[in-house]
């Protein structure tokens, strides 16, 4: 029995022979499931008239509500499943495929469940939270589809360590070439060597803008003193060349960080709001049945 047989025998298709995105998993199996679920929900909503008296009640309303609540629980469960590494319940990619499509279907299920009755109350609040979680999820899909490729292209086969190493190398070289220049220039370069603004606050990471970048400042300084420097021309030119090289590398690292941040940032909405949603959902159910 080969390795692949071992998994097929266990009923797990853990061994795809080529790369397949979680979105396309198993020829869009979960997209098909989700479509069926949405169609059934619409049929239920249109078929049972009058629907959901009052506000999502009635057997059709309760059915949609129960399916929606179970879906939310199941979708939350994904966070736990992601961290159980030692299980044999198949690939996480398959789970995510289901998570995404059924999560999208949830939007329809829940919207129909409301019967389009909204107001300033706990019920609509829970619904709104759910919509934000779903919207953040949609952004996540966009990020996952977009940035991985850009990240690879941006790196040109360098690792972060290599890029940082190269910057350290440039810093050493800068120290040498700037020597013949005047004190203010040396000070500007010294500042540029001392602080390399990379990463930083969430906003910096996501925007990729660093207005107080010491390297940009040093370049501006060099350009300002460009005229009248004939004797030390060569030192000036070399310093600028090194600075530009450093600026290009910094820009590349910052883009790298930005892409990474974009792929992570939305989870900071998605996860906490999931728990807020669970709380709101509980309140919603208690309000309906026990008050």
């Amino acid at each position: 029995m080969s390795v692949s047989d071992r998994f097929t025998a266990a009923g797990l298709d853990i061994r795809p022979t080529r790369h397949e995105s979680f979105l396309a998993y198993n020829r869009f199996r979960f997209l098909r499931w989700a479509t069926v679920l949405v169609l059934l929900s619409i049929a239920l909503y249109l078929g049972v008239r009058p629907y959901g008296q009052p506000y999502g009640g009635g057997w059709a309303g309760y059915t949609l509500g129960t399916v929606g609540a179970l879906l939310i629980l199941w979708l939350t469960w994904f966070g736990y499943r992601k961290r159980t590494y030692n299980s044999n319940s198949g690939r996480l990619a398959a789970r995510l495929s289901a998570h995404v499509y059924l999560g999208l279907a949830l939007f329809f299920v829940a919207t129909l469940h409301t019967g389009f009755h909204f107001g300033w109350n706990i019920h609509t609040f829970a619904y709104a939270l759910m919509c934000i979680v779903i919207a953040s999820g949609i952004f996540g899909i966009f990020a996952y589809a977009h940035y991985p490729r850009q990240m690879t292209e941006n790196r040109e086969s360098m690792t972060t360590a290599q890029m940082l190493g190269r910057i350290a190398g440039i810093d050493d070289e800068l120290r040498n070439v700037v020597m013949p220049l005047d004190d203010t220039t040396v000070a500007a370069i010294e500042r540029c060597i001392e602080t390399n603004e990379i990463g930083g606050s969430a906003w910096r990471q996501l925007s990729g803008r660093y207005p107080r970048c010491t390297t940009a400042a040093a370049i501006a300084h060099m350009e300002a003193i460009a005229e009248g420097h004939t004797i030390v021309q060569e030192a000036w030119r070399q310093t600028l060349v090194k600075l530009s090289e450093k600026a290009a590398l910094l820009a590349r690292i910052r883009r790298d960080i930005r892409f990474k941040a974009m792929m992570e940032a939305w989870l900071f909405l998605h996860i906490p709001l999931t728990f807020a949603l669970l709380a709101a959902l509980t309140a919603h159910i208690i309000a309906i049945f026990f008050m």
């Binding site: 061994r15 990619a93 690879t152």
Partner: protein, 803 residues
């Protein structure tokens, strides 16, 4: 402690490693007049040089210890202390700091020349000098100044120093890299690149130089060392420099002991660097009275060495004691339910298995320790088609049937006493091609892969014997399953097995030869020169033939065929092959149809140079010799590192894969992770034979690992790490009350752990062998970016990229 030398000794022992010291201890115990020479100022130079506090393993556990020296699993320091004490108490006649430089003479009258210039006479000589050899020293003035050293035990010992490393082999590069963490390191290089190191180390050193972590003194030649820490270098421009440094570490290789051994008149079986001189069952070399024991005789574990030291003295005294491993082999026989004793088994092997006729009794016993004995009843399955190969089976009695055609299980090729089987997968490192069933009760001897590899290397007749049978079976299996044996005779008789190194060419474009090659091990790429560029058209793994086009079309070679990894092919003579096609039209049609398909594939590939580049890339990264490799599609990978987390979570907290490291081509990334090679380089030189291949193909390291680091050095892909031996986490209570293990807040860093547990051992990917769900990395990847592929899938990945 020097005692006066008697003019003549019954036995002179050279080298005070475990083997030599044990021999001396036993001679002293028996009151045999003896002398033990050791060239260094201390006993046991090899063990002396282990990493401080190294935990020394006493494998194999099952082997009983037979020595006057104590030995159990303990630290390096404890062993050295107890054996140093034994020299006094046992009254061993030891002479330290004396190198034996020549051995002349014959039994009863040997003369040993010593480095001091003296000569000593002895009746017998026991050579126990190990395989470590002599570290080369710089040949420049000042080479023994105190700031110069020729080895490095623990790079973490030095901090904040200016260190110059001389030597650009793997040892030099590894030392420089390790030292650069805490020191200013420069490396002296005669040339500008690193031709003598392996690819992984070169990549690391080049990156470190680029980063400025290590200063590269290229095109420099050391000229001299001066008091006060100065190194004088000749530079390319002739100016020369005088460097001030705290320490010079010269790693310029070692002189293997082989030359010394040969100068004593002992012959090695072949030129392989892993060849050992042959010895008899009493450890006697070809020169009567000159005995060889320990690592030099091919027994690299301390326990073997100790036992042999004891035994060799008994043999010199004329006592034919049974070897210590006797009970081990007997247990194998008893477990299998075979009523035989060990001597009968050894005799049976020597009489009934012509393949091993050339081996000495000692060699037979040695491989029996590493073999399994099977005694299947009629109808029992020996192995199944599709399993990965571990071993060669020999029939000592009874009969087996080979199911060549999976669709037709009743049709079987019968093999009988004296035959062997399982050699095809053993050669290719791939899966078994057929299922084998015992057709009567059969007595089978299964010899494990590592042992077979060593036997084949040391004894040419075994290789010839295996090849003779394998060639016929391979041609039948891979080329002509339905063809009668007599039609194949010409092809088989005119064929030859040829070996190719990686990147060596089997066939060159435009050449006029026209033999056909059947690849039986490794893999090849087919490429064509298109406007000066070498465009790869196909990747062909073992089990396929190449080169039929010239023969069928009667033209010059249309493409170049290059070995992608170490490759073995059966070269079939063109006239004989043509004759076969004429006699068998069905086969001819099959070959022609395949050719047509190949032409079409080639045209497709020619229009798609990128796919060819992808093949080149993957082959360079070792996928050509892989049985299972992790590939990441970077256009899907969201860099969450869940794969690494999953690996660490399921493997004692140490991830065996490094997702970010490793090269990328287009969007395909080959992370630093084990390829589970067909012929694993890591297995080559593992003293306790701790690296194995499981039936599912996983190459894994067992807990027999002694932490010597050979596999880490031998793996060309840098995927093995030396990690601290994991501690069992104590329960909170037993930690509080009994102070066991690391408690909360204690130093849990790998270095801290290594310090406490006294050692590291080798770890690598085991493809999650023990986990039912399969490889955790692939399972944990949320996006489908990470997959593992075997050679078949590998072709699929390429075809996919080509389409």
């Amino acid at each position: 402690m020097d005692r006066p030398l008697a003019a003549e000794f019954k036995v002179a022992i050279v080298g005070s490693g475990p083997a030599g010291l044990s021999a001396a201890a036993h001679a002293a115990k028996l009151g045999v007049s003896h002398v033990l020479f050791e060239r260094t100022p201390h006993i046991n130079d090899t063990i002396f040089k282990y990493q401080k506090r190294k935990h020394v393993m006493a494998t194999p556990e099952v082997l009983p210890l037979r020595s006057d020296l104590d030995f159990k699993e303990e630290s390096r320091e404890e062993i050295i202390e107890s054996w140093t004490a034994a020299v006094e108490t046992d009254k061993i006649n030891l002479r330290l700091g004396v190198e034996v430089t020549a051995i002349k003479g014959q039994k009863g009258d040997f003369t040993l020349t010593l480095s001091s210039g003296e000569a000593v006479a002895a009746e017998n000589v026991v050579m126990a000098i190990g395989v470590q050899g002599n570290l080369n020293r710089l040949r420049i003035p000042g080479n023994d100044l105190p700031f110069v050293q020729y080895q490095l035990d623990d790079p973490d010992e030095y901090k904040g120093e200016e260190i110059v490393v001389i030597g650009t082999g793997d040892a030099g590069l590894e030392n420089a890299l390790a030292l650069a963490v805490n020191n200013n390191v420069s490396i002296v290089n005669r040339v500008a690149d690193f031709p003598r190191a392996k690819a992984g180390n070169i990549a690391l050193i080049e990156a470190a130089i680029k980063r400025g972590d290590i200063q590269h003194l290229a095109n420099c030649e050391p000229k001299g060392l001066e008091d006060g820490g100065f190194l004088v270098l000749d530079t390319a421009d002739g100016a020369g420099v005088r460097l001030k440094c705290d320490r010079v570490i010269a790693r310029i290789g070692a002189l293997p002991p082989r030359r010394f051994v040969e100068s004593c008149g002992i012959v090695f079986p072949n030129d392989s660097p892993t060849a050992y001189p042959a010895v008899s069952e009493t450890y006697e070399s070809q020169i009567p009275g000159l005995y060889i024991v320990g690592a030099l005789a091919g027994y690299p574990l301390i326990k073997h060495c100790l036992n042999q030291g004891y035994e060799v003295v008994e043999y010199i005294q004329g006592n034919k004691i049974p070897p210590a491993d006797e009970p081990l082999i007997q247990a194998k026989l008893d477990d299998a339910g075979v009523k035989m004793n060990v001597n009968e088994l050894v005799a049976a092997v020597r009489e009934r298995l012509p393949l091993f006729a050339a081996l000495t009794t000692l060699q037979v016993r040695e491989f029996l320790i590493h073999s399994n004995i099977h005694y299947p009843k009629s109808g029992e399955v020996v192995f199944k088609r599709g399993e990965f190969a571990n071993s060669l089976y020999n029939i000592l009695g009874g009969e087996v049937g080979i199911q060549v055609d999976p669709d037709n299980p009743d049709e079987m090729v019968r093999l009988r006493r004296g035959d062997f089987f399982g050699e095809m997968a053993l050669i290719s490192g791939r899966r078994r091609t057929s299922t084998v069933i015992a057709t009567t009760q059969a007595l089978l001897l299964e010899i494990d892969r590592n042992t077979m590899v060593k036997l084949v290397r040391s004894e040419p007749t075994i290789k010839a014997g295996i090849d003779k049978a394998a060639v016929i079976r391979e041609i039948k299996t891979f080329l002509a399953p339905q063809v009668e044996d007599n039609l194949l005779r010409d092809v088989v008789e005119s064929s030859a097995v040829v070996e190719f190194r990686p990147n060596e060419k089997l066939i060159e474009e435009d050449a006029t030869d026209d033999s056909v090659y059947l690849i039986r091990k490794g893999s090849v790429t087919v490429s064509m020169n298109c406007g000066g560029k070498d465009v790869v058209l196909a990747y062909v793994p073992a089990g396929n033939y190449v080169g039929e086009m010239a023969l069928i079309t009667h033209r010059n070679r249309a493409a170049t065929v290059t070995a992608a990894s170490a490759t073995e092919a059966i070269r079939m003579d063109s006239a004989a092959f043509r004759g076969l096609l004429e006699k068998d039209p069905a086969l001819r049609r099959k070959v022609e149809a395949k050719l047509e398909q190949r032409m079409m594939d080639r045209n497709l590939m020619q229009r798609n140079a990128e796919a060819g580049d992808l093949i080149k890339f993957l082959v360079r990264e070792g996928c050509g010799e892989a049985t299972d490799v992790l590939l990441i599609d970077e256009s899907l990978c969201v860099r969450c590192d869940n794969c690494e987390k999953a690996c660490a979570e399921t493997h004692h907290g140490v991830s065996r894969l490094n997702r970010e490291a490793g090269p990328t081509f287009e969007m395909l990334h080959v992370p630093t992770s084990c390829r589970h090679c067909e012929d694993p380089h890591c297995m080559q030189d593992c003293p306790p034979d701790a690296i194995h291949r499981a039936p599912n193909g996983e190459v894994f390291i067992s807990d027999q690992c002694i932490g010597c680091g050979n596999c880490e050095r031998n793996c060309p892909y840098g995927v093995i790490q030396m990690a601290a031996v994991p501690e069992k986490k104590p329960g909170l209570l037993s930690w509080m009350f009994f102070g066991r293990g690391p408690g909360p807040g204690e130093d849990k860093s790998p270095a801290g752990l290594a310090r406490r547990t006294g050692g590291k051992h080798a770890v690598k990917c085991d493809m999650c062998k023990g986990i039912d769900g399969g490889p955790a990395c692939v399972r944990a990847c949320p996006t489908g970016a990470a997959i593992r592929v075997d050679p078949a899938g590998f072709i699929d990945v390429m075809r996919h990229a080509g389409a």
